[in-house]
C-alpha cells in the first residue's frame, strides 16, 4: 500500500477525526461498472445513511469497506489500514468494522450467546469468561437476555437481527456497517430493530447504514449519502436532502420513497 494520497488527511487534526477515507473506489462486475470512482470520507462518530434506487451500488460500496468485495481501482483507508492490502490487513480491518446483514446470517449451530461470544474469543483473544460476560451485557442492551440459550432458528426475524447487532458489537468495532438491516423483516418487526439502531447512533459509534427507511434516515442520520449509478450524487444533511432536494433524480427518488 503506497501512501500517495493527495489529500491532506495524512497529517493534522483532520486526520484524527477521519475514520474512513475512500478515494476513487472503482468496482466492476464483469464489464459492468458498479462503482465509478467513489470519493468518500467519514468522521468519527458520524451516522450516515446511504440511500438510492436499487442497483445503484449502495450495498456493493458498503461491502468494499470491509473487503467482502474487492475493488478494482482506488483505495480505502479504515483507521489507518489500507485496502487493497495484505490478507492480514483485511482481517485486521474486519476486526475493527462490524457488519449487520440483510439476512442476519447468524450461525445456526450455535446458541444465541455463543454467536455473540465467538468472535471476541477467536479474533480478539478474550477469555471465555470475559467474552460471555460481554455477550450478557450486549444481549441485555438489545433486550434479548431471556433468549440467550436458544438457537437462532427459534427466534423471530427482529430478534435474530438484534442478536446479529449484538454479535457485531461484541468486537467493539470502530465502524458499524448495516446492509439493509430491516429489508428482510416483517413490517411489525422493523421498529424494534430501528429502535436498537437509534440508541446505538446516540451512543456515538460510527455507523454507515444502507437503508430504504426514509423516516429513520431523516431522524437519525447526521448525513445522507444518495447514490445513483455507482456514483455519490448527493451528500449532505437530512434537512437539505429531504426539504430542498436540488436535483431532478433526487426529487423523483424521494417522490417514490415518501
Amino acid at each position: 500500500m503506497s501512501n500517495m494520497i493527495e489529500e491532506p488527511l495524512v497529517a493534522g487534526a483532520d486526520h484524527a477525526a477521519t475514520i474512513l477515507t475512500c478515494v476513487g473506489v472503482q468496482k466492476f462486475f464483469g464489464h459492468f461498472e458498479v462503482l465509478k470512482g467513489i470519493d468518500f470520507r467519514v468522521q468519527r462518530g458520524e451516522v450516515i445513511c446511504i440511500v438510492g434506487p436499487s442497483g445503484s451500488g449502495k450495498s456493493t460500496f458498503l461491502r468494499t469497506i470491509n473487503g467482502l468485495e474487492s475493488i478494482d481501482a482506488g483505495h480505502i483507508i479504515v483507521d489507518g489500514i489500507g485496502i487493497p492490502g495484505t490478507r492480514k490487513d483485511i482481517m485486521e480491518i474486519r476486526r475493527e468494522v462490524g457488519m449487520v446483514f440483510q439476512s442476519f446470517n447468524l450461525f445456526p449451530h450455535m446458541k444465541v450467546r455463543d454467536n455473540v461470544a465467538l468472535a471476541p474469543i477467536r479474533a480478539r483473544g478474550l477469555s471465555r469468561a470475559d467474552a460471555y460476560k460481554r455477550a450478557e451485557v450486549l444481549l441485555a442492551q438489545v433486550r434479548l437476555s431471556d433468549q440467550a440459550d436458544k438457537y437462532p432458528a427459534r427466534l423471530s426475524g427482529g430478534q435474530q437481527q438484534r442478536v446479529a447487532i449484538a454479535r457485531a458489537l461484541a468486537m467493539e468495532p470502530k465502524i458499524l456497517l448495516f446492509d439493509e438491516p430491516t429489508s428482510a423483516l416483517d413490517p411489525e418487526m422493523v421498529q424494534e430493530v430501528l429502535e436498537v439502531m437509534k440508541s446505538l447512533a446516540r451512543s456515538g459509534i460510527t455507523m454507515l447504514v444502507v437503508t430504504h427507511e426514509m423516516k429513520f434516515a431523516r431522524e437519525v442520520a447526521d448525513r445522507i449519502v444518495f447514490m445513483v449509478d455507482g456514483n455519490i450524487a448527493f451528500s449532505g444533511t437530512p434537512a437539505s436532502f429531504f426539504d430542498n432536494p436540488s436535483e431532478a433524480r433526487l426529487r423523483s427518488f424521494l417522490a417514490k420513497m415518501l
Binding site: 473487503g67 467482502l68 474486519r94 476486526r95 446470517n105 455463543d114 465467538l118
Partner: protein, 220 residues
C-alpha cells in the same frame, strides 16, 4: 436338507473371526478414503488448472469403474508394474479405498456447498481467521449434512468388502463360502453371513441418528 440352527451356531466362531477382518478392512479403507476424499475435494474446490482437472478426473474415473475390476486389477497388475507384491489384504484395502475416496470427495464438496454463502460472509466480517472459519463455522455445519451420506458410504464399503473374497482375503464372506463348500451347508452359512452383515450395519445407522441429534442440540 433342513435348516439347522446347530450348524449355524457352530459356524459362528469362524464367521466372527472373518467379521473382524471385514471390520479391519472397512476401517482401514475408510480412513484412506477420508484422506483421499479430503485431498481430492480440496483440489477441486481450491485448486486451479491441472490440480483441479486431475481432481475432477479422479472422481469421474473411479465412480464409473466397477469395484470388482479394480480389486482384480490391483491384485494382478501391481506386481507386474512394480517389483513388490502386496498382500491380498493390502491390495483389497486400497481397491476399496480408491472409489470410496471419489465418493467421499463428492460428499465433502456437497456438504461445503450446502452452507449458505452468508455464513462465510458473516464469519469473515467478524474478522475470524481462516482456521477458525473452518473449525467453528464450516465444519460443524457441513458435518451435520454429511453424516447421512457418509453412513451410506460406510454401508456400501461393508457390502463391497465381500467382493474381496475373490482374491482370497479371509473376511466374513470368504469364510462362509469356504466352509459351505466343505460341508455343503450353504443355507446356514450364507444366512449366518447375511445376519452378521446386517448386525454390522444396524448399529451404524443408530449411531448416526444419535450423532445427528447431538449435533443439533449441542451447545458450542
Amino acid at each position: 436338507m433342513a435348516f439347522s440352527f446347530r450348524v449355524l451356531l457352530d459356524s459362528l466362531p469362524t464367521l466372527l473371526f472373518g467379521a473382524i477382518t471385514t471390520i479391519q478392512l472397512v476401517l482401514l479403507s475408510l480412513a484412506i478414503s477420508i484422506v483421499l476424499g479430503g485431498v481430492v475435494c480440496a483440489g477441486r474446490v481450491l485448486g486451479r488448472g491441472l490440480v483441479r482437472s486431475l481432481s475432477i478426473a479422479y472422481v469421474s474415473l473411479f465412480r464409473t469403474l466397477p469395484e470388482t475390476v479394480l480389486i482384480f486389477w490391483l491384485f494382478y497388475c501391481i506386481p507386474l508394474l512394480f517389483h513388490s507384491k502386496p498382500t491380498a489384504m493390502q491390495s483389497a484395502i486400497v481397491a476399496l479405498a480408491i472409489p470410496a475416496g471419489a465418493y467421499m470427495a463428492e460428499i465433502f464438496r456437497a456438504g461445503i456447498d450446502a452452507i449458505p454463502s452468508g455464513q462465510l460472509e458473516a464469519a469473515k466480517a467478524l474478522g475470524l481467521s481462516p482456521l477458525s472459519i473452518v473449525y467453528d463455522i464450516i465444519a460443524p455445519q457441513a458435518l451435520r449434512t454429511m453424516a447421512p451420506p457418509i453412513l451410506g458410504l460406510v454401508t456400501i464399503l461393508i457390502k463391497n468388502s465381500a467382493l474381496v473374497s475373490v482374491i482370497g482375503v479371509e473376511e466374513l464372506f470368504y469364510h462362509a463360502t469356504v466352509q459351505a463348500s466343505q460341508n455343503y451347508r450353504y443355507f446356514e452359512l450364507l444366512t449366518a453371513a447375511a445376519l452378521l452383515y446386517f448386525a454390522m450395519i444396524l448399529p451404524l445407522s443408530i449411531a448416526v441418528q444419535w450423532q445427528e441429534r447431538r449435533l443439533i442440540t449441542r451447545s458450542h
